[in-house]
Amino acid sequence: MGKTINIQPLSRIEGHASIEIKLGEDGNVEDAITHFNSIRGFEKYVEGKPAEEVTRIVTRICGICPWHHHMSSVKAVDACFGAEVAPAGHLLRECMQNMAHINDKILHFYFLAAPDFVMGPDADYSVRNVMGIANAAPDLAKQVIRMRQKAQMMMEKFAGKVIHPIAGVPGGFSKPMNESQRQEMIADTKELLEFAKFSMKYAKEEIFPKYLDLVTTLGTITTGFIGTVDEEGSLNFYDGKIRLMKADGTAEDFDDTDYLDYIAEHTVDVSYGKYPYAKSWNEGFSMDLDAPKGIYRSNCLARINCCDQIPTPLAQKELEEFRKSFGRPVQHTLLYHWARLIELVYSCEKTLELLNNPAITDPVTRYDVTPKAGRGVGHVEAPRGTLIHDYTTDDNGCITSANLIVGTTHNLAPISMSVKQAANMLIQNGQVDETIINKVEMAVRAYDP
């Protein structure tokens, strides 16, 4: 038996995971296992709760993407209660949800991932972080912190609570937006769009060219993809059909209410998390690097691959350039970062579009709803992927059963595969150092789990 390397905890990611790399006598990788070590049981403890309260509970699944859980949940409860939603309520929800994508992407790209590129994958861990960037590039750091703060605070100011929101309600949104709030948010979002354009340019000039070797090799695997598109096949975060694409680029679209026909969850002995896979491909589940079965990926690169076009001009231009360079679908894992920035541009443009619709200030944002028995599936595109909440309620409108498929989990199998690919590629003859270990983690970070 050779030695075992335990990378614990994985850092600069959102959740709780670790990697166990087993080396053989010859010092080569025998196995590399990613453990997802979190189980909280929301599916269990929302049982019996009034459905309208559950929209304020499931937010705690994730403090980074609570808006998306909030929205999926509110949509599911709308459906359980057969509720009509005030048009301005939909607009406000969609606007907030797109805004939430803005700060998420700034957070991930600059705070979590950028240290590997700005400071370098081989920089010492004590400076390979956002504090290190603050010292090495104080102006950039200041700008990043200011922009992320702006994106968070414009939401908090309007919607009351940005982490663990409460403003989405069955039937709409809890409060209207007035004209001065709208103008203020337009001004803020314009500034964020400028920053998004800067980020795109900065990454294309200063970051990606420098690491092209790594970008086109590290963690690369071949899989299908999942993402939401509207009737025209355009990218949409808030609503639409779910598109499941195979590695060869062929795809099928389905309604979220039919998700059980397309997606199933596989369990493994090494993780609490369940690994979704494409049930409709009828090939089972396998994480074999050379012949994966049922494996597809979610999050930005997946959405960018799935959509036929992006319905806002600047992001569409970026998409065209991206496709010209890398094709469709793109499999290189580190290109998640590039796709994330395209989505940063999109989410700013889309937010502006929604704010520019005067109907968003309609004072009627919420219709009263009546709790009753029903089943409802709600889904949105969370930053980390297609997020599905499926509830059944009793006559009193309380939950009798809940099933959740959380964005990140679509990527649990792909992450495990990318880790293995990276470990195989980087560790040979027992040679391991901190840079190699960090590069293995970079394969995980690209997914932003």
């Binding site: 390397i5 990378i7 614990q8 905890p9 994985l10 850092s11 600069r12 959740g15 709780h16 670790s18 166990e20 070590n37 189980i39 909280r40 049981g41 599916e43 269990k44 403890y45 019996g48 709760k49 309260e53 509970i57 705690r60 699944i61 994730c62 403090g63 609570p66 957070l107 705070f111 979590l112 861990y125 004590s126 972080n129 504090m131 992320r148 703060q149 605070m153 609570k161 982490i163 663990h164 409460i166 309600v169 039937g171 809890s174 409060k175 059980l260 969850e265 002995d269 993780s271 979704p276 009263d368 709803v369 709790p371 499926d390 409108g397 309380c398 099933n403 391991v432 150092d433 270990i437």
Partner: protein, 309 residues
């Protein structure tokens, strides 16, 4: 001299850490005075050595420790004990750490009940087994930190308001002990209180309270007086921040659900709320799922699994 700070998250959602980041430029101003020695969300310091070749969890010594999340599995416990050992002053950050938080809702169920549901949902492959390899075994329930280790400072909130995080850090930097007042959320709420009125029962949050959107919060009538369940009376103040804003949910025109935990550290939000309602002559027989009132404070044996199942 910068103060060494270590930060860890246990059975948590990362919202508390995002709340730290939401200090924004204040954080930038504080950074020269803070030296993070361990903070997995931002920094690659590892538990088992940078090469992953050590046996036991090792966190560097620090003056201040920030610990979010409750304790749900053996690894959480090990990390909590190590943080306690290495940090001079340990802060329980967020309601999960101080009272269990939302994840402690699981305390109404046994681990078997959790596994039975989670590994047999409609989308889960049939025959799924509870995993066993390389993951941390669950404890019997979800604990608040002070059920397992000594806590020096309680900073509740789901998440805590950045103003309070900043105030706590600043106080500690100045060698003082930060204090959050033991007031209720109502004490910081500007809504109009006009007396009991004719509220008889409790309405569910499925209809729109009365308010004029063009008018500020202080012209809206108290939501409890409007007949909605609002947990403000039995919830610790704090979410309004330090600048005289309204409590967060109230400012969004929805009732408080108690995310700052009880007013006194050992208070009971369920009993206190039912008492408040009953003493005001309000009929509570229609209240669905009372355990819901402990949704943020189900640790400390407040929520327990039903026996004999």
């Amino acid at each position: 001299m910068a103060v060494d700070v270590a930060s860890e998250w246990l059975n948590s959602c990362s919202g508390c850490e995002i709340a730290i980041l939401n200090l924004g430029e204040t954080l930038l101003d504080l950074l020269p005075q803070i030296n993070f020695v361990h903070i997995p969300v931002l920094m690659d310091h590892k538990h088992l050595g940078q090469l992953g070749d050590q046996e036991h969890i090792d966190i560097p010594k620090a003056t201040v420790g920030l610990l979010s999340g409750g304790i749900r599995n053996e690894e959480h416990l090990e990390v909590a004990l190590e943080m306690r050992k290495k940090c001079d002053i340990l802060i329980a950050l967020g309601t999960c750490a101080t009272h269990g938080g939302i994840p402690a809702l699981i305390n109404s169920y046994t681990n078997e009940e959790l596994f039975d549901r989670y590994y047999s949902t409609e989308s889960t492959d049939p025959g799924a087994k509870v995993p066993t390899k390389g993951i941390s075994p669950l404890l019997d329930r979800c604990y608040a930190l002070d059920e397992k280790i000594d806590v020096d400072i309680y900073l509740p909130g789901c998440p805590p308001h950045p103003d309070h995080i900043a105030a706590a850090i600043l106080a500690l930097l100045n060698g003082e002990t930060p204090e959050l007042p033991f007031k209720s959320t109502c004490d910081t709420c500007p809504t109009k209180r006009m007396g009991k009125g004719d509220v008889k029962g409790i309405k569910r949050a499925v209809e729109c309270p009365e308010f004029d959107p063009e008018k500020p919060i202080d012209e809206m009538r108290c939501l409890l007086e409007q007949g909605y369940l609002c947990m403000g009376p039995v919830t610790r103040a704090g979410c309004a921040g330090a600048n005289g804003d309204a409590p967060r949910c109230i400012s969004a025109r929805v009732p408080c659900r108690g995310c700052y935990g009880p007013v006194q550290q050992d208070g009971n939000q369920l009993l206190d709320m039912l008492n408040a309602l009953v003493s005001n002559g309000i009929d509570i027989s229609d209240l669905p799922d009372r355990a819901n009132l402990l949704r943020f404070s189900g640790a400390h044996n407040r929520l327990v699994a039903k026996k004999g199942k």
